[in-house]
Symmetry: C2
Subunit: 656 residues, 2 copies
C-alpha cells in the first residue's frame, strides 16, 4: 500500500485491525484514519448486491428460527393471506364486509358495463370481469381494502391499442381473442415481475408521469364519450385527439337531441353526487349509489319512451349465465400475436401501477404493509385466471377501493360479497339491462375519468419541481397528440433523462467554515461561513461517473481559476490546497478514478495540492484497488474537511 | 412558515436575513439553523441550470472586461487557434514541425491506403483523406499534437455499415456517393454537437464501453485481414465473426502459399518493430517508419517476382493528381439516405470520441487545455470540407498523434507538412504503388488493430469495477456476434442501466459516533464508532427519486425493524428517534418528498420521531415549497447529526 499505508486500514470480518504504523511526523491534533470497508470476496459482494436488488425487504425474515410446522404455516399464509385473518374472522367483521361488498357491487355493475364499452368489448365482459377476479384476489391478495375489477385507464388503453389494428364491429371473435390473449400476457407479465422480484420496474412510471398520462387519457376518453352523449353512430376508433374531434364535429347531422338532453341531465346528476361525496367524505354512498340509480332511472325512462324516441342506442340483449370458459380463445400464433403481447404488457404495467399504488395508499391509512411483489403475483394470477374465464384486464380500482374503505370493509371478504352480487346479476337480472341506454354508460365513464384529471397535483408539481412538471406535460401531450403507448414511452424517457441530467451535470459547491465549529457548509447558503485562507474547499454532489467525469474536471478547474482571480483581485494569500469533500460522491467508476488521478497531476504541475475528504466506503475501495491512493501521499486523504484543514495548515506553520 | 420557522431562514440576494425568532425553549448547546438557499426567481434558476448544462466552462470569461478590439482578436483566436501561436512562430519550431510532419507522413501514406481498403473504398481515397483534412484542422484545431487522418475504427464501421446494403464491387459509384454523404453527415453531426454545446453526448460512450467495442471490432477486422494475408478472392462483406470465419475456412482452396509466406514475414516484421517501440518509447521512429519500409520492400519484391508468382493481388493503377471535388456526389434523397445518415452519425460519434480523447491525452501531457466543443466544430468542419473533396471520415488518430508527439511536433504546422508530403505523393509517386501487394496492407491493418485490443485495461476494469467490466464485455460480444451499431447500442444501454441501478438501489448505512468527536461514520466501516442509545442514525447515499422512493421507504423500515429486534435481544434502551443524514441526498423529486412525508407519518404512529440532518440546498428548498417541513415541527431538522443528537437527548433529559 506504499507510502499511504498509515492512513488506510482494513477492518476485516474477524474484527482484527491490520495496523501498519509508518507515521513519519506526528500531526499536532488527533487525525482520524480513513478506513477501507471490511474486506469481502467478489462473490460475497455480488451476493450482497443481488440481495439488495431483489430482496431489499428480506422477505424470509419471518421464517428465521421457526419450527418446520410454523414455517409451513407461514408459507401458506404468505401464499394465501386469507389464512392470516381467517381464524379470527367473526360475525361483526362479516357484517361490515357484507355492507361494503354490496355497496361496491352497486357501483361495480354499472362501472363494469361502462368500462367494457371503453375497451370496445361487449358490456357483458365487464360483468364477467367483476365476478372471477374479485374471487381470486380475495384468496391471494394481501390488501384488505382493494376493490377489484376493470379500471378506466387499462380499459381505454386496451381498447385504443387493439382498435388501431382490429375492429370489433368487423371481426368480433378476433377482437375478443386478442383481448383475452392480451389479458393473459398482462397477467403473465405481472406475475413474472412479482416472482422474479422485478417489481421496481413499475417505479419507473413516476407519479409525475402518471398524473400527465392519466389526464391526457381522460381528456381523450371524455371527448370520445361525446359519441354516446350526442348519439353519434359513426365514430373513429383512433385514440388521438385530432381524429376524435373530427369525428365529433363532422357528424353533426347525427347528433340526437333526445339523447343529448337526457345524457347531459344524468351527467349533471352524477357530477353533483360526485361533488357532494368529495366535499363530505361521510356521504361517500351518494356517489357510490348514483351510477346504479341513474342506470335504473334511465333504463326505465327509455323503456317508457321506447315507442316515441327511436334512435336512442341501448345495450340490447345480454346473455344470462356465469362466465363461459375462454381458454380456447387464447391466441398464441399468427400475425396479431405481437400486438396482443404489446397490449398485454402496456395494460399490465399500467394496471399494476394503479393496483399497487391504491393498495399502498389504503394500507398506509390503516398502518399495515402491502408486499409489492406478493401483490404483483396476486394481480397477475387473477388476470391469468380471468383470461381463461372471459374476463379482460382487472386490477385494484381507486374508486371501488375508496368506496370499499369508506363503507367499512375489514377484509377481502367484501370482494367475495361483491362477486356474489355480480353472480346474482349475471344469473337473473340480465334482461333488465336491455333498455339501458348507451348515453348513461357514457355519462358514467365521463364522471369517472373527469376525476382523473388531477390539476391540483400538476400545480403542485410545478410549484415543487419544474422538471417533474415537464415530465408530466410531456406525457400529457404525448398521449393527447401522438398515441397512448408512445406518450407513455416519452414520459418514461423524460423521467430517465431527468435522472441522467442530474448525473451528467451535478452540483459543485464552495464550502466555508462556520466560525467556532468543525462544520463546513456552502458559502452561498450560509452567510456566516468563512473561506479558509489558502484553501479552496469544494463539495461534489454526485457520484463521479463516465457521464460526468469530463464535466466535473472542467468545472473544478474553473472553480480554481475563479478562486485565483478572486484572490488576485482581493490581494489575499495565494491558493495552495484544494480539498474535495467527497461525502456525497456515493459511487465512482473507472472514468471517475481516472479523472481524480488526472486532476491531481494537473494541479501538481501548478503546485496545488489535491486532498480528498471523507470518501465513502465503495469509493475508498476503488481508489485503493486502482492504486491511485499511493500517489496522494501522506497528506492526501482525511476523514473530515476540518481535520484536513487543521493538519495541513499546521504543517504549513511548521515549514513556512 | 408555521411552527418550524425558527429553523428556516431565507438568505436572499440582498444579503439580508429574515429572522423570525419564535424559539420556545432555548437548547443548551449552540444549534445551527438550517438555511434555505438564496431566493431566486424561476427564470433565474432556469437560466443558471441551462448555463450549467451548456456553458459549464464559461467560454466567454476571456472576453470579460476587454476592449472591443481585444474582443475581436480573441474571437478570431477562438475560431482560428492558429492566430494564438502564429505571431510567435519561429524557425526552431518550424524545424521540429518539419521533422515530425515528415515522420507522420511516412506512417500516414501506407495507413491511408490500408484504412481506405478497410472501409471498402479505393486506396486513393485514403490518400485524399490524408491531404485536405489535415490542412483544415491546422487552421481550426486547438490541439497542437493531433495527427489527423483516417482511423481504423471509423473506417471499419463505415465499411461494415455500408457494405451490408450496398456492395462496392457491384455499384462503385453509389458506394462512393454513400461514403461521401455519410462523411458529410458525420461532419454535420459533429459540428452541430460543438455549436449546440451538446458535447456531453459523447461522454455516454464510457471508456469501459469503448475498450470492449474497440477490442471486438479489432478481432473482427483482424480476422477479415486473413482475406489479404491468405490471398482469398471471395470473401463475405458482413462484419460478424461467424460469417467471417466461414469465409476464411470455406475457401481453403483459394489460400495462396506465396501470399501467406510473404504476408506473415512482413507481419512478423511489423509486429517486432511495434514491440520495440512500445518497450523503448525513444525508438518510436522504428514502428513509425516500418509500414513505409515494408510497403517499399514488398512492392519491390512483387515487382521482381511479377513473372513467377501470378495470383498475388496488387493495388494496381491509381490515378495521379489532387483530390477531385465530390460535392456533386452527395446524395440527399432516395432510398439509401437513411443508411447514409445512420452511418454518418455512428462513425461521426465514434471518430469524435477518439479525436477528443486523443487531443485531451496529449494536451494533459503538455499541460494545456483542449476545448471540447471547439474541437468538435473543428473536426466537424474538417469532415464537411472532406466530403466535398473526395475524403471519407477523418479524425485525430491515436497512432499518428503519438508519432507526431514523439517526433517533437510543436504546433499544427506538422499537419501542413504532412499534407504537403501527401500532395507530392499524389502528384508524382502514384505509379510506384502499382505493384504494392494487398497482403502488405492487410499486415499494416493487422498490426494497427492488434494494438487496439487493450486486455490490460479490461483487466483493470475487472479489478476495480465489475459493472464497468460487464459493460465492456457486453460491447465486446455485441460487436463480435451481433453487429457494430447494435453492439454499440447495447454497450451504451448497459452504461446507462448501471447509472439507473445505482439510483434504483442506493446504499443506506447505519452511522455511529466516533467517541470524543462530532463525527458520525458507518458502523460497518469504523469499528470504534458507537451506536447512540435510543437513536438510529441512517445515511441515505443517493438522491431520492421516483425510481427509488419505494425501495428507500421499505429499506428504512427494515433497518428500524432490525434495530428494534437487536435492541430487544440485547435489552437496550428502546428506540425513540430516527435521524436521516441527508448529506448525500443531493436531489429530491416530488415522489421523494411524498416518501419522506409518508415515512414521518408511519413512524409517528409507532411513536418514533423522524429527524432530518443536513439537507442540501435544493432538497431544503423543495421540502419548504411542499410545506412538509411544517409537519416536522420544532425538532425535526438539524444542520448536523451531532447537533440533532445533542439537542434531542438534552430534551429527553429535561422531560424524562
Amino acid at each position: 500500500m506504499g507510502v499511504n499505508s498509515n492512513r488506510v486500514e482494513h477492518f476485516d470480518s474477524h474484527q482484527t485491525i491490520i495496523k501498519i504504523q509508518t507515521e513519519l511526523s506526528m500531526p499536532p491534533m488527533e487525525i482520524h484514519k480513513v478506513r477501507l470497508p471490511p474486506e469481502t470476496t467478489t462473490f460475497n459482494k455480488l451476493k450482497n448486491r443481488l440481495t439488495e436488488i431483489f430482496f431489499p425487504d428480506d422477505p424470509l425474515y419471518r421464517f428465521k428460527n421457526q419450527t418446520w410446522f410454523m414455517k409451513l404455516l407461514l408459507g401458506l399464509q404468505y401464499l394465501f393471506p386469507i389464512f392470516q385473518w381467517a381464524p379470527e374472522y367473526n360475525l361483526r367483521l362479516l357484517r361490515s364486509d357484507v355492507i361494503s361488498g354490496l355497496t361496491i357491487a352497486s357501483l361495480a355493475i354499472p362501472q363494469g358495463i361502462s368500462y367494457a364499452k371503453l375497451a370496445n368489448l361487449p358490456p357483458i365482459v365487464g360483468l364477467y370481469s367483476s365476478f372471477v377476479p374479485p374471487l381470486i384476489y380475495s384468496l391471494l391478495g394481501s390488501s384488505r381494502h382493494l376493490g377489484v375489477g376493470p379500471v378506466s385507464i387499462a380499459s381505454l388503453v386496451m381498447g385504443s391499442m387493439l382498435s388501431e389494428t382490429v375492429s370489433y364491429n368487423e371481426d368480433p371473435i378476433l377482437y375478443l381473442q386478442l383481448a383475452f390473449t392480451a389479458t393473459f400476457f398482462a397477467g403473465l407479465f405481472q406475475a413474472s415481475l412479482g416472482i422474479l422480484r422485478l417489481g421496481f420496474v413499475i417505479d419507473f412510471l413516476s407519479k409525475a408521469t402518471l398524473v400527465g398520462f392519466t389526464a391526457g387519457a381522460a381528456v381523450i376518453v371524455s371527448l370520445q364519450q361525446l359519441k354516446g352523449l350526442l348519439g353519434i353512430a359513426h365514430f373513429t376508433s383512433k385514440m388521438q385527439i385530432v381524429s376524435v374531434l373530427i369525428s365529433v364535429f363532422k357528424q353533426r347531422e347525427e347528433w340526437l337531441w333526445q339523447t343529448m338532453l337526457m345524457g347531459f341531465c344524468f351527467l349533471a346528476f352524477l357530477l353533483t353526487t360526485r361533488h357532494i361525496s368529495m366535499r363530505k367524505p361521510k356521504l361517500f354512498w351518494v356517489s357510490a349509489a348514483a351510477p346504479l340509480t341513474s342506470v335504473v332511472l334511465s333504463t326505465l325512462l327509455v323503456f317508457l319512451l321506447r315507442h316515441k324516441a327511436h334512435g336512442i342506442a341501448v345495450i340490447g340483449h345480454l346473455p344470462k349465465g356465469v362466465n363461459p370458459p375462454s381458454a380456447n380463445m387464447l391466441y398464441f400464433n399468427g400475425r396479431y400475436l405481437a400486438l396482443a403481447i404489446k397490449t398485454g404488457i402496456v395494460t399490465g404495467i399500467l394496471s399494476l401501477t394503479e393496483g399497487i399504488a391504491v393498495g399502498r395508499t389504503f394500507a398506509a391509512l390503516k398502518n399495515y404493509q402491502v408486499d409489492g411483489n406478493k401483490e404483483m403475483m396476486a394481480i397477475g394470477l387473477m388476470n391469468i385466471a380471468g383470461s381463461c374465464s372471459s374476463c379482460y384486464v382487472t386490477t385494484g380500482s381507486f374508486s371501488r377501493s375508496a368506496v370499499n374503505y369508506n363503507a367499512g370493509a375489514q377484509t377481502t371478504v367484501s370482494n367475495i360479497i361483491l362477486a356474489s352480487a355480480v353472480l346474482v346479476t349475471l344469473l337473473f337480472l340480465m334482461p333488465l339491462f336491455y333498455y339501458t341506454p348507451n348515453f348513461i354508460l357514457a355519462a358514467i365513464i365521463l364522471t369517472a375519468v373527469i376525476g382523473l384529471i388531477d390539476y391540483q397535483a400538476a400545480y403542485k408539481l410545478w410549484k415543487v419541481d419544474k422538471l417533474d412538471f415537464l415530465a408530466c406535460l410531456c406525457s400529457f401531450f404525448g398521449v393527447l397528440f401522438i398515441s397512448v403507448p408512445l406518450g407513455l414511452a416519452i414520459a418514461v424517457g423524460v423521467s430517465v433523462f431527468k435522472i441522467l441530467l442530474h448525473v451528467t451535470r451535478p452540483n459543485t459547491l464552495v464550502l466555508g467554515n462556520l466560525p467556532g465549529t468543525q462544520i463546513y457548509q456552502s458559502l452561498n447558503r450560509y452567510r456566516e461561513a468563512l473561506r479558509v485562507p489558502s484553501f479552496l474547499i469544494l463539495a461534489v454532489e454526485s457520484p463521479i461517473y463516465f457521464a460526468n467525469s469530463t464535466y466535473l474536471q472542467e468545472r473544478i478547474l474553473r472553480w480554481i481559476r475563479e478562486e485565483e482571480e478572486r484572490i488576485k483581485a482581493n490581494n489575499e494569500s495565494t491558493l495552495k490546497c484544494i480539498i474535495l469533500d467527497m461525502t456525497a460522491v456515493t459511487a465512482m467508476d473507472t472514468s471517475g478514478i481516472d479523472t481524480i488521478s488526472e486532476l491531481r497531476k494537473m494541479l501538481e504541475k501548478r503546485s496545488l495540492q489535491l486532498v480528498l475528504a471523507n470518501p465513502v466506503g465503495s469509493v475508498m475501495e476503488k481508489l485503493h484497488q486502482s492504486k491511485i491512493l499511493d500517489s496522494f501521499g501522506l497528506r492526501g486523504l482525511y476523514l473530515t474537511v476540518g481535520e484536513a484543514v487543521a493538519d495541513i495548515s499546521s504543517l504549513w506553520k511548521a515549514q513556512p
